[in-house]
């Protein structure tokens, strides 16, 4: 079929026009699904996070950021997320990520302490922590006032703890202890109200160290 016959009418030449692919492909479901799942995971993680609190310890011995749990009556209610020294190197400041819905636990007179093996006189406690490592114990206060910064007790409060409200110290002791360097870590308003004092006074009579500090 060489050059066509000049006697015939000219044949229109044809040219292939590829089908344009501008239509949205179904593949776009894949990134949309990825986005949806990612967003869902992010929201789920955000929702599963409770409040963040600061607990001040005298020593971080046995505590580990990201591992040490906070227990209340044996129930895991939070994890220590960071451990650092205070600016004057006097105390250890830790932050803890609490479980969701623990806001009601974190009140004015809630107390924290480290549970580690202790042998003193006839008392042996915290034996379980020999293997499991230390954890932070807590005693939930009855106050209605919320709080996010706490000073830990130097030793476990135990079940025989008298309610802090019953042993509020006198004005003099308050101001004395408010001057203590731990108190400097708390906001001024709270310091004035003597939170630190209340947190410490709970174990009056059980704690010789505390008495010594008071005597100073």
């Amino acid at each position: 079929m060489p050059d066509h016959d000049p006697t015939l009418p000219p044949v229109p030449s044809s040219r292939a026009v590829p089908k344009s692919r501008t239509r949205l492909s179904l593949v776009w479901i894949v990134p949309i699904a990825a986005m949806a799942v990612g967003a869902w995971v992010a929201v789920a993680r955000y929702m599963s996070q409770g409040p963040e609190i600061t607990i001040v310890f005298k020593s971080a011995e046995g505590l580990e950021a990201g591992k040490t749990k906070i227990h209340y009556n044996g129930v895991d209610i939070g994890t220590l997320t960071s451990i650092r020294l205070s600016d004057d190197h006097g105390v250890v400041i830790t932050t803890a990520q609490m479980a969701p819905k623990t806001e009601s636990f974190l009140v004015d007179d809630t107390q924290f302490w480290v549970v580690r093996p202790r042998v003193s006189g006839a008392n042996i406690s915290g034996l379980g922590t020999l293997i499991s490592g230390a954890y932070v114990g807590s005693e939930i206060g009855r106050s209605k006032k919320r709080r996010s910064e706490f000073v830990a007790l130097p030793r476990p409060a135990g079940g025989h703890l008298r309610h802090p409200r019953e042993v509020l110290p006198d004005e003099d002791a308050r101001s004395r202890i408010a001057r203590h360097r731990h108190a400097a870590l708390l906001p001024a308003a709270e310091r004035r109200q003597g939170h630190v004092v209340r947190a410490r006074s709970g174990r009056e009579g059980h704690d010789r160290q505390g008495l010594r500090r008071r005597a100073l």
């Binding site: 593949v27 894949v30 990134p31 990825a34 990612g38 992010a42 040490t68 499991s132």
Partner: protein
């Protein structure tokens, strides 16, 4: 006729999906280790740091390469290829084809990390003393690997020299 259909669009879709999954893959923990001292979850990067020791650093490097650098390099390389094709770039066609082949070859090796995790989880089950379980991040990581492989597969390397040949035609 033998072209991959809607190559650019499909590659973009898979690539964007892979890039989205890359974020949770690195932020979420991939492995939860439960020992007597409690449970700890580690992300890929934390794993790299954990593995880094005077004797174990080669393993740490392998994980760093296979799990963090290769997936991100793949995503970036594919994005570069796609953009250059769409802008009709003519330069370094040969190099870009080579880049495509490397990306295609290297893709499956990222799955090493998923296998390592799966093996460890299956082998270390000394309950109640110690157990290892995969965490949600691993799912996203596997998704990144699969999605980048799909993106590579749906990319048509002929597109790279398409723009070059069309230019030649115009010059001729």
């Amino acid at each position: 006729m033998f072209r991959k259909t809607a190559s650019l669009q499909r590659t973009w879709a898979y690539l964007i999906a892979a890039a989205i999954c890359y974020v949770p893959a690195n932020v979420l923990p991939v492995l939860t280790t439960t020992t007597a001292s409690g449970a700890a979850s580690d992300t890929i990067l934390e794993g790299v740091v954990l593995l880094w020791s005077p004797t174990g650093w080669p393993l740490s490097l392998i994980v760093l390469f296979a799990s963090i650098m290769i997936p991100s390099a793949k995503i970036l390389a594919l994005a570069y290829l796609l953009i250059s094709v769409q802008r009709g770039t003519v330069e370094n066609g040969e190099q870009r084809v080579r880049l495509y082949r490397i990306v295609e070859f290297i893709g499956r090796w990222s799955m090493v990390d998923v296998f390592v995790d799966a093996f460890t989880a299956a082998l270390i089950q000394l309950q109640p003393l110690m157990s290892v379980e995969p965490a949600p991040g691993l799912l996203f990581f596997a998704a990144v690997v699969v999605l980048t492989m799909l993106a590579v597969e749906s990319f048509d390397p002929r597109l790279i020299w398409d723009s070059a040949s069309s230019k030649e035609v115009r010059h001729a």
